[in-house]
Amino acid sequence: MSAAHHRYVSTDRRVREDRRFVVGKGHFVADIDLPNTKHVALVTCPHAAAHIKAIDKCAALAMPGVHYVLDGAELAGATLPLMTGLDTPNVPRRPLAFETARYSGEWVAAVVADTRALAEDAAEALEIDYEPLPYVLDAEKALERDSPLVHQAHGSNVLLDKTFAWGPVEKDFAAAPRKLKLRVKWGRSSTVPIETFGVVAAWDPWREMLDVYASIQMPRFADQIGIALKVPTTSVRVHYDVDVGGSYGVKRGIKHAILAGYLTRRLGFPVRLIEDRLENMRGGDAHGPERLFDVEVAFDDAGIVKSMKMRALENLGAYAGRSPFQLGKPIGAIVGPYKINSVEYRAIAVVTNKTTQDAVRGFGQAPTNLALERCIDEVANTLGLDPLEVRRRNFIRKDEFPYLIPSGTTYDSGDYHVVVDKVTAQNRYEELKKERDRLRSEGKLAGIGIAACLEPSGGNATFEALLNPAITTSTFMDSCRINVDGMGAITATMHTTSSGQGHETLVGTVIGEVLEVDPDTVRVTRPDSLNSLPSGTPVGSRMAIMLGGAAYHAAQKLKDKLTAIAAHDLGIPLAQAVYDRGTVSDRNLPQSKRSWADLVQIAYRNFHRMPAGMEPGLAVEHIYQVPTGGNLPTPDGRVHMYPCFSFEFHLLLVSIDPDLGQPEIVRYRLGHDCGTQINPKIVRGMTMGGIAHGIGAALYEEFAYSDEGQLVAQTFMDYLLPSSHEVPPVEIVDHETPSPHTVLGQKGTGESGYLGAPAAIANAINDAIRPLGISVNTLPIKIAKLGDLIASALEKVVR
């Protein structure tokens, strides 16, 4: 860690946000009580697909305290469909189903009442006449010619089908002596924050202002509300000082906000929609990728992987949110940390009669990493080579950075071999093998799991343009404004919500570092959307890089201004002025200086002492474009994406009781390199949380459906989140390879742990059961499924 070069960055400092949370004084959306607020409950479709023939509202409207029942026809007539990234005009997505409901749990009507309980009572009294329709749940079946169509007008269930070939794929395949095919499936899971989504909306018809308080992590939230409700964005005021109770990607909430925004405009009082867990799991922004991979790799006898063909089939659910793009983001790290020369990638996204999926931590990268890492293990297995050795042979070497991968992205920096060396130092890998063999000799099934992967970070989301050429966005920015007030105190702003990432601490630390002042003296505030500068929001593991970069440059501007004022007042050339902890002195005459208070006095009250042409006051701002950004795809389908690439290397040991099929993680070591760590406590927490989330995706979590199209995992009784019992102690070994593209050498860490844990666990389980002649390539690897698989294999062995 480079704390030695820094005053505050990388040092073990507390996270300023924590103080309000430990006393229960967070400011969550459900804590907001506006006077005269009415409450919304949702009515959902019980069928996998159905025509909505009639809605009888009479009984519900007659109940006490009930104000309104909104249906999809009224809402569709008054608002525009949600923005999507693809040009699929015949697949409109709306907050409430209009004419046809396309998944069990889809919102069909909204009831508004004095309390949430009364709204729920009335929701049950609504009589809806449905005509069930044919439905399709499976992505492969949705591709078939005779499949029911989820959206008749679209003419097929395919929303995206693009094939890319980067480099001489066929030539490399023809030349390679060995090939291997693998089918890998990532099950439908998600991030499932403990706080559901919530929104409070209040319309003031005299000011023409829609105030929105929401539990969001959503780019262009105010824009999308304004477009859908057909009001100017200057009439939409999103309050960013709302604490978000976890998100990790999913808290998009746009349909909720449009619904609540419409209702408050229609009814004239504030409206609040806080999902209950059922609404959240069935029809909120709750689901994540469900992806089937067919991968083929071409390699030689030494285990060097020359080329890869990957087909990824995504089951989007009934509508397209941002989800098809989750097939695009992994293109920026499609070869992982390996020197694979050429890649063919076919990305297919289909609609089915399941809940719509939304963005999840890593934006599609973790499933792709699973497919790639399973392949690397099978390459080693085929050749009888050690899987760690095969990875070492394929890794990009430190001296090969910056490294251009076939799909057009240039990796910034890394030292993968050294990270692996640190994790396996003191013979640890050999010791782990011995421990595995000892467990095996005791009758357990035991296996070692390895995964090495990258975390693209910084959020240069040019995959949008790659998948949809109509998109020409090449600017991804974030901003910071700093004001030193007339008393000399510093206030900085950030312009989005946070869901636990510690952004206020980030801004304070970076500004403190640059200005050489105690970060705790820097107040950090969040103006509302009308008073904000641009922010790309905390997606794409970007805030340390982007908000940190904006804060850094803003602070530099302030420092430059203070230095210029002092040099002018001291009558010395600018180059002769030295800034030190808020005081500027003459390099040649150190006792000749201007203190912070002197400079504030000049800037605020003594314009006659200011340099000519300089604005009075001490306010600066910086809008920061993403490093290495600004480009669009080339005609042959290549594009540079994210600026920075963090590296993680998982090494773990799993023991399985063959009678139960329950995997237990016995040892877990992680090597992690995210460049300079601005706050080590935050980095560690994010990484541990990512591993826990990855354990869930690998072993426990799945939005499972019955054959009838009913979601059967819709509570925490059936959708199993890892508790403290399921997450083992993890030893994290840090390494630091600074990024050359960022202000402090930092990279992203918001998705760390999660990107490799599922692959490592799947590899460990496969290592454990390989002696039985079986393998498992579908996540989650649930205990019952694994137990049955082992039992039937053991039966064959006995026979």
């Binding site: 507390r14 996270v15 946000e17 924590d18 103080r19 309000r20 949370f21 430990v22 006393v23 229960g24 004084k25 967070g26 969550f28 459900a30 804590d31 309980a117 991030t191 499932v192 924050p193 403990i194 706080e195 559901t196 604490d243 978000v244 109770g245 976890g246 998100s247 990790y248 806080i274 209950d276 867990r277 869901s499 636990g500 990432q501 510690g502 406590k681 935050i682 560690r684 927490g685 994010m686 541990m688 949380g689 990512g690 591993i691 826990a692 989330h693 509570t715 925490f716 009784m717 989140l721 508790s723 403290s724 019992h725 997450v727 102690p729 993890v730 742990g753």
Partner: protein
């Protein structure tokens, strides 16, 4: 109906429907927003409060059922304006949280543990918080916070050499 409650050592009277959960009563009738709704079916533990010193889920209890019991919420465990308890401070020291949504309940659970077990093992801490789901942290820094709090509480009012 009229419900008489003992909340954080104070007698409080509220008018509420008999079906009002203790959680909704605390949040909506009494303005105590520190207990949070997560699942409302008794699994996530975000609504945890102390009922006669025992950690319970306030979403699974009707407010009238709390009559006659001493209810303690996170607000009652906070020493005073701007002040933190030893456990709260330990959570800040280890950064045993991220989004803060499960945090008050996690601290209530930790309080219940440490009130009865001043020197818990790692397994005992893990067991004590196993009914409180956290989606952010992977629990490591929470376990460390409770362990640190236990260590500090054992040291309170004892000569240094005996700690």
């Amino acid at each position: 109906m009229r419900i008489e409650l003992d909340i954080n050592g104070e007698k409080r009277t509220v008018e509420a429907d008999p079906r009002t959960t203790l959680l909704d009563c605390l949040r909506d009738n009494l303005g105590l927003k520190g207990a949070h709704a997560g699942c409302e079916h008794g699994v996530c533990g975000a609504c945890t409060v102390l009922c006669d010193g025992v950690a319970v889920r306030s979403c699974l209890m009707f407010a009238p059922q709390a009559e006659g019991s001493a209810i303690t919420t996170i607000e009652g465990l906070t020493p005073g304006p701007g002040e933190l308890s030893v456990i709260q401070d330990a959570f800040c020291e280890t950064h045993g949280m991220q989004c803060g949504y499960c945090t008050p309940a996690m601290i209530v659970a930790a309080h219940a543990l440490l009130a009865n077990n001043p020197q818990p093992t790692r397994d005992e801490i893990v067991e004590a918080i196993s009914g409180n789901l956290c989606r952010c942290t992977g629990y490591a820094q929470i376990v460390e916070a409770i362990s640190l709090a236990a260590e500090r509480m054992r040291g309170v009012n004892r000569p240094r050499e005996q700690r």
